[in-house]
Symmetry: C2
């Protein structure tokens, strides 16, 4: 149900971008980047928070969730390019630059960032939510821009001295925080109490990703593994060991459940967080992590 809302909103957004006049290769590449089997973790979280807050403008919440996913997809396309991870596989398929070339991949990332903000603005008008627009855009922009969003997180990888906590908070946590806070703001609720839920889930997700990178086969992961060690990036597994990282993962998930603010849909949301959390650990560790 939530997933079909998100897919429809993404379809509407990408459909507008690939409309009349679009260069055909760019249109194909935009679609390829967005519809390639992503789990839609962040937009589901965004819609779930909007639902917990009453969801009085569902179309605006859906567009907000779609924009968070478009920004996530943009970051994956750019992150896979040769000057970053030089990854040829993503979700078991060739990456965008492998399929369409580096120039188009660069433009797909740029275009998806623009499309994210355009999507929110269009929906605000369509859904009678223009008075919420500025707040949602500021939250989403903070999650992806500088000084503390996703772009800043990736930029830490190019610094001579890395601030590991800021790195993880910005690279992974910030977009989860944007997802929860923007979900609340899209539904007309105060976003501030929703920050902690996003932060804990982002931290959990980062640890799970470190475990996946360190322990999975490339086939399980659907992308190259061992990248943290190969690029000498900080990793919870290297810092804490596998057992330590698993303990940290469980603690963050418990903290996330506890961080759900009191609201009409709080219990449903806590159940959803527990359910999603069970899927976070790498398949080979599922029994240990459960």
């Amino acid at each position: 149900m939530t997933l079909s809302r998100i897919e429809l909103a993404l379809e509407a957004a990408v459909g507008a971008a690939e409309g009349k006049g679009c260069p055909p290769e760019l249109a194909k590449a935009l679609r390829y980047a967005v519809f390639s089997g992503g789990a839609r973790v962040r937009p589901r979280l965004c819609v779930a928070v909007a639902a917990a807050c009453g969801d009085d403008r569902p179309g605006f919440a859906d567009a907000t969730a779609a924009s968070v996913e478009l920004l996530h997809c943009a970051s994956l396309v750019h992150d896979d390019m040769p000057c970053f991870d030089n990854a040829s596989l993503r979700r078991a398929k060739p990456t965008v630059h492998v399929m369409f070339g580096e120039p188009v991949a660069m433009l797909v990332g740029d275009g998806l960032i623009v499309l994210a903000f355009e999507t929110i603005a269009r929906a605000a008008v369509r859904c009678g939510a223009t008075e919420r627009l500025a707040r949602v855009i500021k939250i989403v922009a903070r999650g992806v821009g500088a000084p503390n969003g996703l772009v800043a997180g990736q930029a830490w990888e190019s610094e001579p001295v890395i601030d590991v906590d800021r790195y993880h908070e910005a690279k992974t946590g910030a977009l989860f925080v944007a997802a929860t806070m923007a979900g609340a703001a899209a539904a007309g609720a105060d976003p501030t109490p929703w920050r902690a839920l996003g932060a804990h889930l982002g931290a959990a997700y980062q640890i799970a990703d470190d475990l996946l990178d360190a322990l999975s086969s490339s086939e399980d992961a659907g992308k190259p593994v061992g990248q943290d060690r190969a690029h000498d990036r900080p990793s919870a597994v290297h810092a804490l060991g596998v057992d330590g990282a698993l303990a940290r993962l469980r603690a963050q998930i418990e903290a996330a459940v506890a961080a759900v603010p009191d609201c009409a849909g709080a219990e449903d949301l806590r159940d959803l967080v527990r359910l999603q959390a069970a899927r976070l650990a790498p398949k080979s560790l599922a029994r240990t992590a459960a």
Copy 2:
């Protein structure tokens, strides 16, 4: 006067992005990309249109103009990278990727796109213009995204068959159209009558750029020249010859002057268009073009 308004607005925007927590190299590179001697053609046009429309929310118009310039800067940074033009000079200085490396250059472009939309949203709240926010964001996004904005324009360079008119309209014209229309919308005016002015100025600017690329020395231009021929890109000079291109340039400028809609500041704006137009032709051709 206009220029200092724009520089202050850009300073405020970049100042926010390089704030507490920003990776130091990213902060330096963001500033380098925005403050490196650009002529600020598009934001001046945006502010001039807002002024002609009454300029009742000057802070919002300034932020809108700054966002147009941030997006222009982002496109230059990405366009200069090795997978596009592989340019090592821009405005007679080393390009961002030469100074800071390709990963940081990619992130500077991404971060400036995000910052552009964040800047408009912040100013809308600060200046009491939230009811104009959706319209301005949609106009600006249309100028830079897909299907017909700057990103689409650059993507035409990767297509096996190029639609030359669409290519120029999207790559250069669209952001000029965004500048005029967003200037009007930021001042609370109907943006539609302002489209033609932007389109003609964008076309004039594109022809002037083709002339510059074909005829100037690299020193005059402050960037590598001969790029259109080197990359086999369409050019007014190749299509029409130098005299034909100059005639087309003059015709577009006359059309731009004639396209200024009736409004309180129309005469001032027409004078400004004429003044700016005189600077468009390459220095070596200034006497011929005048």
